[in-house]
Symmetry: C2
Subunit: 343 residues, 2 copies
């Protein structure tokens, strides 16, 4: 790959997101059928299996599914099933296994074992012909098209939207059909204004550390923003819930450290705003990603809090991309990473 081509695949895949989201809304991707067939509206509970970026989409799914159903959601620890082979009992549970490639062996094996333990299993994947799709009882096909860049982008936001749609099938979410329909256009707006991400990348200078913090629904978006920055640039970006950060790790944030705080209007906004001030009081440089005016990384104002994480993840991709290019790194293929992980 020549220097001129740096980041071509990642940029192209980021740009496809409005179309991918619109298609998913349009055809529903089999989610209603899968949910109805498996009895999602009367399940004892949901357990989610994932790793990496998919794990962040799963964490978002957890907030959505608990809100929709009121029932506890478990994020599965694969090693219990693949290494320790515990005698699991998952009757009447729905297991949602998330993997863009559908080929991470441990995710496939965990799904098979939980199916044998009585769970109804759904594969949420970008490859309908993958081993994961074959291992599960039902398939949610993300239909995002092939993803070539190592940092997952369009498959992450597609998975996030699929979780929203699954939530609406499993129970009730406070989101209207009109709000859902506006989402692809709002993501296009974010993508169309890359200036703030370039400015923010410039403000981060040559920092080797970054703390990313958010509360509630935006917390999974903070996890994904941190991972995207870390894997594209090598910056040690770490995400925390604002409450967890205060509970200890904030001790490591000091003068001239960098932080990124995510917030949108809603019950979590006050807490995030307070944390941003606490970090600034410690001498840190704080970037704000928010729907409020004056935000360093603006988010669409008319976006409900439950959907804001999808737009926030796109802003985070933009920041990671700008930061990588600014440092002379090819974001399509960062050092030492490949697209499918063996464990």
């Amino acid at each position: 790959m020549t220097t001129a081509a740096r980041g071509t695949a990642m940029a192209a895949e980021m740009a496809e997101q409005p179309g991918v989201l619109a298609r998913l809304l349009d055809r529903g991707s089999g989610i209603e059928e899968a949910a109805a067939a498996l009895g999602a509206d009367r399940a004892t509970g949901f357990a989610l299996v994932a790793r990496g970026s998919s794990d962040h989409a799963a964490a978002y799914g957890r907030y959505l599914l608990e809100t929709a159903t009121g029932r506890p959601v478990s994020l599965v620890a694969p090693s219990l099933h693949t290494l320790y082979r515990i005698d699991a009992e998952y009757r009447d549970w729905i297991v949602v296994a998330v993997s863009q490639s559908g080929r991470t062996p441990e995710i496939v094996e965990t799904t098979r074992r939980l199916g044998r333990a009585g769970a109804h299993t759904i594969a949420m994947t970008n490859d309908a012909a993958s081993p994961l799709a074959a291992a599960a009882d039902a398939l949610v096909d993300l239909g995002a098209g092939e993803e070539r860049a190592v940092p997952a982008t369009k498959t992450v936001t597609a998975t996030m939207l699929a979780m929203v749609l699954l939530g609406t099938c499993a129970g009730r979410l406070p989101i209207s059909a009109e709000e859902l329909e506006r989402l692809p256009g709002q993501v296009a707006d974010v993508l169309g204004h890359a200036g703030p991400a370039q400015d923010a990348a410039h403000a981060l200078g040559d920092t080797s550390r970054l703390v990313v913090a958010a509360r509630g629904f935006l917390y999974p978006a903070a996890l994904e923003c941190a991972l995207k920055i870390r894997e594209t640039t090598g910056v040690a970006a770490e995400a925390y819930s604002t409450a967890d950060l205060r509970h200890g790790p904030i001790a490591a944030v000091g003068q001239d450290d960098h932080a990124l705080v995510l917030a949108v209007a809603g019950p979590a906004a006050d807490d995030a705003g307070r944390l941003a001030r606490e970090l600034a009081d410690r001498g840190a440089h704080v970037l704000r990603m928010a729907d409020a005016s004056g935000a360093d990384l603006p988010l669409p104002a008319a976006l409900p809090e439950l959907l804001a994480p999808i737009a926030a993840v796109v802003r985070g991709q933009q920041l990671a991309y700008a930061l990588a290019l600014g440092r002379g790194i090819d974001p399509d293929a960062p050092r030492g990473l490949s697209k499918v992980t063996a464990t």
Copy 2:
């Protein structure tokens, strides 16, 4: 506090751990009674509520309770209940709320709300007169004595052992009574040989970053080791499961970075060993905490894998303590932290 007194409280509390663990084994701390009264052996599932170090003890509890019962365990997201106030349905679930002080307001409120949502609630705390103890249906009193140093030590290992005991009441764990009885002595052995921790602290030099990695049962111990180092020294120590680290964040580990890999004999050992080699191949300096000969930070050889995390957490405390003193920091009261967090 004078310079000579640096770390006095943390050192004293670390040294109390064998006695605290032995007392907990001896009197059971009300766990059997609580579990029997709440029907732990026939619960639909367990949900754990915690934050900070207690959250790592809860993550360990999750591995134990899933192993013991075969049922999914959920780690509760407090914001869903305190900020978003979702309409939760927890009938026939057992909620275990963990807080050494019993005074973190959000943990208390979450426990109250889940109790009203139908859950049977257990408070696992070091203060039987705390609001958390009052809010729950049953009490597991850690009885560790007052903890004065900001970094939690004896209450963490006491909570971890309480989780083991709860696991044995809720189902079956592959640990014998003899193995449990040996634990306090093994922890005393670790505490009695601080030399390796001092050498490891020396080897870490003035690094500002550290990656800590483990798989399976030791993963929660890796989380706690990283937090202890972070809050006592300000080093940006981050913990990963070996599988998650390979799935992206390893891109940020390069030449002359520092890593700590935890492993003991058992199903997860091969994977951890492989990761240590991968990190070394990237040019990182790798410290090994293990029960194998030649480990930089040795763990007792006769310790079953399920109990090894407790000894590993103690080794991690030793390393954090040595690193803090070596950098002229008072580990009893690191900058910007207080003992009870308001959220």
